[in-house]
Symmetry: C2
Amino acid sequence: MCQLLGMNANTPTDVMFSFAGLATRADEHKDGFGIAFFEDPGLRLFVDHHSARVSPVADLVKRFPIRSGNVIAHIRKATQGRVALQNTHPFVRELWGRYWVFAHNGDLKGFAPRLHGGFRPVGDTDSELAFCWLMQELAKAHADVPPISELRHTLAELLPIPAAYGTFNCLLSNGQALWAHCSTQLHWLARRHPFGAAHLADDDLSVDFGALTTPGDRVALVATQPLTRDEAWTAFAPGELRVFVGGQPG
Amino acid sequence: MCQLLGMNANTPTDVMFSFAGLATRADEHKDGFGIAFFEDPGLRLFVDHHSARVSPVADLVKRFPIRSGNVIAHIRKATQGRVALQNTHPFVRELWGRYWVFAHNGDLKGFAPRLHGGFRPVGDTDSELAFCWLMQELAKAHADVPPISELRHTLAELLPIPAAYGTFNCLLSNGQALWAHCSTQLHWLARRHPFGAAHLADDDLSVDFGALTTPGDRVALVATQPLTRDEAWTAFAPGELRVFVGGQPG
């Protein structure tokens, strides 16, 4: 199944991702990957619909130390929508002069909301459709970008609607915070300086924090499955929504 | 000054860019670069606000053979807006279920259109503001994505409005066609199979077409300055708008 990974930090953190696990498991998650890094309000999005095993984009991401406060990554195993660039997560839209990034793990059956035209999917996944609907409803609910806590309330009302149609584990960020909604499977961890490498030998993704961290640094991670064996990851409850701000659960 | 480069081809063309010239001229165009590649309706956007000389993203673009039918590239020399990722061209928005990519060479003074909220700039450049206004006006003019020729008429009405505020050489693509508007400086060329490398030793950008082209292949290039000395580049007239479809001027 798809893998989600989110990071929220209180200071732009030098982070490097590794797709090492994929190199030996080419049969899984072969349908592409994507990583979005916020740098202030700016955004870098690396996507590829080829396996991370052979993708030169994955190779760049592995070698490129990116300082970011909010990251969303996704490794895809296609369930709906063909394997194509336009169906590769994360998806991005602009709202209220900010970029919004969304990635989804799961499968929605029969979710067919009415879209008024402000946000429309480019590809043909249930995920991008749900994201466009979510952006549309956020735009209707607030005239401008609301405080993080207020946005959490709106999301708590909206996210159960698509979630009623299937499995809807998802990550959302606007560069200020990371929202995570669990339908079936999601874990989180808050870490502090000093950071080592967080890795699980058997996993697809690992994340390494650079050596240049300071004592005040805080980082929160959200992942489909715990990335490390020896740290206290907390499982989300089904239906739980969490927001991470400044590297801590909000 | 900034450099624009656009490519439109009748078949996804294996294209590789080179920033070789920049390696020896670090003082110019040091404020970032960006390249957007359409693959069907999907999009890859590589941006960096570091010089192409040192950027690992530029290094990837140089080594990565990307098959695309529409490409827009931009090398930035900042005039308005600080050097930051959110100010790096090309800019992207979604409209009518398609991605739209825009890059601008020039400087607008005092262009302050009213934005209704559907499209708002994330950064603080005159270029992104003009793009958001353009998307807003296109959304008002058509209910859904219009035929290319009709869109050309709408753009011919809209583009002179920001252009009245300064220099407005720009490229726009939705993956179906490439629109190019000249205010002061822009050149185009239509090429056919067999393709060689198009390069000017003294230039910042060169573009190489892969060996695997077929006799029916056609490619149009648009660039601030001609990329080659020995081909018949045509200069745009001031105020001229051209659309390229299937690798040929439309």
